[in-house]
C-alpha cells in the first residue's frame, strides 16, 4: 500500500527529471502547443521529442488531440505547474543562501 504510493511518486518525479521534458512543460504553461513548434524551438530530433512527449503522456501529465496533420499537446493537470514553481522557490532559497556565504567570504568584516 505505502510502497505503491511511493512507487507512483517516484514515477512522477522521474517523468519530470529531464531537461527536455521540463522545457516542454514550460512551453505548455502558456497553452496548447503542437509538436511542430517543439521541433522548431527545442532544436532536437523529432523522434526524441516524440519520445519525451510519450513519457509525459504515459504519466498522465499532458494530453493530445489530433487536428488535421498536427497534434496539439496541453497540460492535463495544471497543478503540475505549481509543483514546478514550488521547486523553483526551493532552488531560489538554496541559491540565496550560498550567495550570502559568498558575500561573507569576500567581505568578511562587514
Amino acid at each position: 500500500m505505502k510502497g505503491e504510493i511511493v512507487a507512483l511518486e517516484t514515477e512522477f518525479f522521474k517523468a519530470l527529471a529531464h531537461p527536455t521534458r521540463l522545457r516542454i512543460l514550460e512551453k505548455l504553461a502558456f497553452g496548447e502547443v503542437c509538436v511542430c513548434e517543439f521541433i522548431e524551438q527545442l532544436d532536437l530530433e523529432q523522434s526524441n521529442i516524440s519520445q519525451h512527449l510519450a513519457i509525459l503522456r504515459k504519466q498522465n501529465i499532458i494530453t493530445s488531440t489530433k487536428v488535421g496533420l498536427k497534434v496539439m499537446y496541453r497540460i492535463k493537470y495544471p497543478e503540475v505547474l505549481n509543483v514546478l514553481s514550488l521547486v523553483r522557490e526551493v532552488l531560489a532559497k538554496q541559491l540565496k543562501e550560498s550567495e550570502e556565504l559568498i558575500k561573507h567570504l569576500t567581505d568578511p568584516f562587514e
Copy 2:
C-alpha cells in the same frame, strides 16, 4: 541562463526520483533521524543507504551532524516537503479521475 535553471531543476527532480530517497524524506518529515534508524527500517544495505543520503546531501536537500559515532540527518529546506505533498495531490486527482472512469465502466447506466 535559462538552460542553467532548467539544469538545476532537473537535478533536483532526479534527486527525488527514487523510492528509497522518497522513503528517507518521509521519515525525515517527522524530524531528525540517524543513519542507524534508516538501516533498521529500510531493510537495505548500509552502503546503499549511505549513497542515497549522499545524493540528497549533494542536492542540498538534507544536512547531517555527527553526534558521537552516529550521524543525524534532517531536512534542510522544509519547502521540499510541500513539493512532496503537492505531488501527492496531483496523483490523488489523477487517481480520482480514473476511478470515475471505472465507475462508468461498471455502472454505465447510473
